[in-house]
């Protein structure tokens, strides 16, 4: 087993442990009033995010991360 395989195995173990550990944390279904607010949504400002991504994509070498980055041209 080389280093890369060991790293993958470690990642899988950590992910499984994290998932099982997550079972005891987090709110109950009736405690999600704040989380249901629009400003608490991870994609709550999707139009703003899309416009910002477009701007930064045209001016910087990085894009994506939040979602797919796109290959684009950005020739300006």
């Amino acid at each position: 087993m080389n280093h890369r395989h060991k790293l993958y195995l470690l990642l899988i173990i950590v992910a499984a442990a994290a998932l099982s550990g997550c079972s005891s944390i987090g709110p109950k279904p009736w405690q999600r009033d704040l989380l249901s607010r629009q400003d608490m949504q991870l994609s709550g400002n999707s139009l703003d995010d899309a416009i910002d991504e477009h701007l930064y994509f045209s001016k910087e070498a990085s894009s994506g991360g939040r979602s797919f980055g796109g290959g684009g041209c950005g020739c300006n």
């Binding site: 949504q41 991870l42 703003d48 991360g65």
Partner: protein, 435 residues
């Protein structure tokens, strides 16, 4: 000549569908959703914006964007996006400032002898093509649907058209909830095919600019993966961690960018068209945390990206939203910090002694080392009562962006003392309306 990245793509749709289900309980228990409209419109929502972008002495752009969403009874959503861009102004052509007057041809030009297509740049000025203009139309459709109680899927497609560029992409994702829906794992794939038809033809890589050696159309293709974990940590805290990778291959040059060839005394010896490697693999890690209070919320996102061109970048962004006592208005200041290292073939100029040996070279400042700061402020007013519809909002957003070069190489001879790496300053204004 841009393609909007899929910032609102498959993973976002799945989260939105998840949140629609999540908030359904609150809506049923308290307020009445879309109470005033009823009928067919009750299932539809509109999100629109008009954005204006202005760079100091360079590009300006105007961009209307419209998103229409239909929400189904089972929590599924159908999104249709329409985007139009109109860009004009002056675009850097990659050449270096000089002590002498420099003359270039617009992309449609075929010779430096035909005055109709020429433009000149004064000594000390950054060479920019003053006649840059472009328009883009983009259409997107995304469909998110529940498959089982804890499993959702989404499918999306996007088309983008410009005079010299066409792109088509498709994506699909699966999301599974765990732990009383406090944990969500999702996995998505994206495929993209692009066609490039540069104005005036595609220049031969690293060919002498004055010879106008050009060929036909080009293409590039890409595929990407995205793995995401979302965790509700408490009643007021949600976190998300994404790992993504993509690979593009084909024609990855900017066909309009050139590189100055400079001798040891700083004098221009001509220009070459740029050349980049024909594959690029990118990997990124993204972490976002959102925390809410009764009348405020904060979102902090961090991103690290690296690619096979040796670009490494870090991004940190913070939004803080404060609500009025009636919760009908809010102010949201934003600050963003970004830094990147240079691509391993980036060079502001090519020394004349080494120009013939170069395999790859680009003077595109977007591939250089720099850092950037964005400051922004958003003001929003809820119009739920006035329009008798929940979720109605009018907003105004303004941002200021400044980009400064890091580790700029010292120029030889007569170029010393010139501002070879001017900072980029831009103002961005957006008016938004949701219904």
């Amino acid at each position: 000549m841009q393609l909007k990245p899929d910032a609102n793509g498959a993973r976002g749709r799945l989260i939105a569908a998840s949140c629609a289900l999540l908030s359904a309980t609150a809506a049923r228990g308290g307020e009445t959703s879309n109470s005033g409209t009823g009928g067919v419109l009750a299932d539809w929502s509109l999100d629109s914006a008009l954005a204006y972008y202005h760079e100091d002495g360079r590009i300006q752009a105007i961009e209307p964007v419209v998103n229409v969403r239909k929400t189904y009874a089972d929590g599924g959503t159908l999104d249709l996006d329409f985007t139009f861009d109109s860009l004009s102004g002056s675009s850097p052509n990659g050449a270096l400032s000089s002590r002498e007057v420099q003359t270039f041809a617009s992309p449609s030009g075929k010779s430096l002898l035909v005055a109709r297509h020429l433009y000149s740049v004064a000594p000390g000025e950054l060479p920019v093509d003053p006649n840059y203009h472009d328009q883009r139309f983009a259409l997107g459709a995304d469909w998110a649907l529940p498959l089982m109680r804890l499993l959702r899927a989404s499918f999306g497609t996007k088309l983008s058209y410009e005079d010299d560029f066409f792109s088509a992409s498709a994506n699909a994702a699966l999301a599974r909830d765990f732990n009383q829906k406090n944990t969500t794992l999702s996995f998505g794939v994206n495929f993209e095919g692009d066609s490039l038809r540069p104005i005036g033809g595609t220049p031969l890589p690293l060919s002498e600019y004055s010879l106008f050696e050009k060929t036909g159309n080009k293409s590039k293709d890409g595929a990407g993966l995205l793995l995401s974990v979302t965790q509700l940590l408490s009643r007021s805290w949600v976190t998300e961690f994404n790992l993504s990778a993509d690979r593009f291959s084909g024609y990855l040059n900017d066909p309009y960018k050139i590189v100055s060839v400079i001798d040891g005394g700083g004098l221009s010896k001509g220009y070459l068209y740029e050349n980049r490697p024909d594959t690029r693999t990118r990997k990124s890690a993204y972490l976002e945390n959102r925390v809410g209070w009764e009348r405020a919320s904060a979102a902090l996102s961090l991103r690290y990206m690296t690619d096979s061109w040796d670009v490494h970048s870090q991004t940190a962004q913070l939004h803080v939203r404060g609500w009025s006592a009636e919760r009908d208005r809010y102010l949201e200041p934003t600050v963003r910090w970004y830094r990147q290292t240079a691509a391993n073939f980036y060079t502001p100029w090519l020394p004349s002694a080494a120009a013939q040996d170069a395999a790859f070279a680009s003077a595109d400042s977007r591939l250089g080392a720099f850092h950037a700061l964005t400051y922004g402020l958003k003001y929003g007013v809820h119009l739920d009562d006035k329009l008798a519809r929940e979720g109605s909002e009018f907003s105004v957003r303004i941002e200021y962006y400044i980009q400064s070069v890091d580790h700029g190489a010292t120029a030889p001879g007569t170029l010393q003392g010139l501002d070879l790496y001017p900072s980029l300053k831009a103002v961005f204004v957006q008016v938004g309306f949701s219904y």
